[in-house]
């Protein structure tokens, strides 16, 4: 008897947990999501602060203590997510499930080796959960068009990046020869690194040409980089415009069809009741009778 009662309560608890954790429609569900997001943010900031020497010195104890609290909370949440879900495996092996596991593991592994703690910053990935919460409210449509545009331009972007890499290999090697292995151009990989730094207009300045010929080639690389940035921008813009216009056209067509439907409704054959006529038809297309209503209609409007 007690066992059954317990089981019933457990089932209720599971259902409740599911609604709160996975759902976003109830007030408690939304509150839970917000608290979770806040905790994720706090935990990410704490991992960061731990690496700042001055702060870590003063607050080491507090930081470690708080991190343990958050980790325990995350662990409980993880377990609840598994037991409340009807298909737990689908959650465990989903992207979010794996991220959630990786977020809590390093803290426990830190007993064995201290180096894994820095990895716990991967819990920043949990911040992506915000899209899950927001998606369902207002950002859904915003992201959808963008995602479609990016998917449509993916292949073109890959071709573009491949092309940029080949150019970087060639021009990087050229600079290695021109600058005679000096001024930071000590090997071809480093020269390629320089070429990417320059082509993407980042320009650290840690490696920079000092021979006249090298500066000439560098100028060419810069103008090239300055110009070809237009390519991915052009692709994304065009695809985005396309997707965005396709949506507008779809809407317009629906409006147009409705309008046509309403217009065609106007003429009704009073012999057979057919409403499918051309706008300027004189005889019913179904039974061949003269359409009288239409005249009246035309006179009325």
């Amino acid at each position: 008897m007690i066992k059954k009662e317990f089981k019933e309560k457990y089932e209720l608890f599971k259902r409740l947990a599911y609604v709160i954790i996975y759902g976003t429609n109830t007030r408690l569900g939304r509150l839970f999501d917000l608290v979770l997001l806040a905790l994720i943010t706090v935990s990410v900031i704490m991992v960061m602060l731990e690496t700042v020497k001055g702060i870590d010195h003063r607050l080491h104890g507090l930081l470690v203590f708080m991190e343990w609290i958050i980790t325990v909370f995350f662990t409980i949440e993880y377990i609840l997510r598994i037991i409340s879900n009807k298909k737990p495996y689908r959650y465990i092996f989903s992207m979010y499930g794996i991220i959630d596991l990786i977020s809590i593991l390093p803290m426990y592994l830190s007993f064995i080796t201290p180096y894994t703690k820095a990895i716990s910053v991967v819990r920043a990935l949990r911040l992506l959960r915000i899209f899950r919460i927001l998606d369902l409210v207002t950002f859904m449509n915003q992201g959808e068009e963008l995602k479609m545009a990016l998917r449509a331009s993916r292949n073109k972007i890959i071709v573009f990046v491949y092309f940029v890499l080949v150019i970087s290999i060639l021009l990087g090697s050229l600079m290695y020869v021109i600058e005679k292995h000096q001024n930071g151009f000590t090997s071809i990989p480093r020269s390629i690194y320089w070429c990417i730094v320059t082509l993407t207009t980042v320009g650290y300045g840690d490696i920079s040409p000092s021979t006249t010929l090298g500066q000439l080639v560098a100028a060419v690389v810069m103008i090239l980089g300055y110009g070809i940035i237009a390519v991915p921008t052009g692709i994304v813009t065009a695809e985005y415009t396309k997707v965005s216009r396709a949506n507008i056209l779809k809407e317009e067509e629906m409006n147009y069809r409705e309008e046509i439907a309403q217009r065609e409704k106007k003429i009704i054959c009073n012999h057979c009741g057919n409403t499918q006529h051309l706008p300027d038809a004189k005889y019913c297309s179904e039974c061949g009778h003269l359409l009288i209503e239409k005249r009246i209609d035309a006179a009325q409007t």
Copy 2:
């Protein structure tokens, strides 16, 4: 008697002040706005020069003297704006009202503490007043489309910036581990700072990787940054094109409807009721009868 006369004069003064200070239609109103803009520009430049040691040394007295003159002028203007306005609270708590107050306060507060003086550069915000003056003349339409486009793309831009931040946290932490806390990557926040510097293609060079693996990751970050700059550009461009085209279409549709309306008004056959005629038809295209109405209509227009 004298009191009443004074009150009348005061009312007149208030109305005049209102027209000159708030209005842009009269010649005096425009002149006032231009003088104000010039003074704002001068005062901003003076605050700047005061921080340049060489110039401040030589011209300290002059600069302070001029700043006091301008501050007094701004104070009088601020008071006039309040008393001439019928709803003074609406001005005081408007964005421009608060900026105006902040612009004059630091100078008076400098009696108490000298540190507030640097804040007086906020009067640069008053330079935004130019939009108020220009808006009403020619720039209005220019800005309107842009504003609409930016408002339409705001949500998408926020999602994008959030995404960039999450990427920066992850890749910054990765570099912190890879570069083994050296070469400037002394803490995760600093590494994230480096990541943003690189992703946005700014590339100061104050922190830059020196290990091969670090340079490889940096190259990935650069190409990523080089590519994803296409996203905000694509969004703004597409939204702007949309808004801009919507306006053109609206205009075109209005022209079209007008044209149709005028055309249809012209000719109705009073024999068969047909309205489908060429604009200059004399006989009905449906029944061959003379079109009489049209003649009258044509004579009228």
Copy 3:
């Protein structure tokens, strides 16, 4: 007699000079333009080389000699342009006329003061003459659309640049306060300079924040700069698309009108010869006669 003959020859010479110098249709005219462009390029390169110490040392004599030859040639060309032109003042005070004069003056003024010689690099402006030559052949249409787009977006770009400047003044001053006048932020103008360097994603690294708060603000400035680059790009792209589509639509409309004209030609009233009918008219709109040809026409097609 001799005087008259000379005058005739002089007139002929002037007309010939005009055709060769100003014209681009004759073979000699084109050759002259090409030679001129080549000489301008050579002269610009020489002015550059003169400032390179190593090269100037070895070739000083040669460089000066060649520059004098080119200057004399330019002077003769300038005089010919004036005397061969019927309205010499229009040339002298045109943009090209002033550039031409400035290109030759520094060399003569170098007798008096040696410092003006560096100014002779303004003859690089003469390189813009290439647009004159090319415009008339193939680049005309290319540039026209671009020019129209840039003119249409000029006001918006000015508003944008003004906005960027106000932001730079505010954020620059903020950094001056935050970084406590150190790390290169020694004055507000320098801080503003840093802000522009960062906002435009140039990022020299000669001035860069080192406090945590400063780096935070810098990160905001970078992301801001990374984002608002989308604005001018969006404006130019949208305007360019607009201009470019307007041209296409104009063409299409012309084609459409032609097509309509040809279609309407098909129905000819064999009573009055009128060809202006609705496509499905049964009676002539001009004389009210039955349109027989149309039936035949419909049967034929």
Copy 4:
């Protein structure tokens, strides 16, 4: 007899080699292409590694050995490409043929002079062969639109680059005068180099102005560069949108024409010749007669 048999076998071998090397339809052909790509990638990486001192020290023997193997393989491939091709000269003097030759030559020439080895990085150009393999499968259409857009905007981009160069020469020279030949602005070519570095927003920081006037001009250059990047982006985007829309319109028009053709084929009233009917009309909308043809037509389709 043996000679003939050998010749036959040789012919067969040549045909087989042709299918495998040039073809991408057979499984062996695809495998060959993939192996080739892998080998090219390996060889490029090896040339790079050879220039890294640490790695070259340890693995010099291995790297040289492997490079010889790959070079021999490439040589055999090159010979096979020539003998299996019916028009060998067309291959030899094609872009790919020349790249293939340059890829193997440096290794053989390294017997004579060791400096040519660095050139063997040109075999990175062979990586472009990937487009050949991919083109035929999925990337073809992707690249086609992009190529058309780039070709359409080529002239405009050339004009733009020319313009940027002229601006760089003028502003570079200006800075040379302003910064009084100091702070890295030691010659006009170096100043022009700085101007390009700044205009393209690369910003190394190896040369940067330190006078106030110089920083002012630099700020102008930066904002200029920040703004004019909009131009190539705008051009490519607009052209790409144009090409992309032209393709969509072409498709739509074809669909529309087909639809119209099918519709019109269906119904012709054989009493009055009217062809304007609803798709499923039974009686003519113009004269009320039964539509017989349509029934037959409908029965046929």
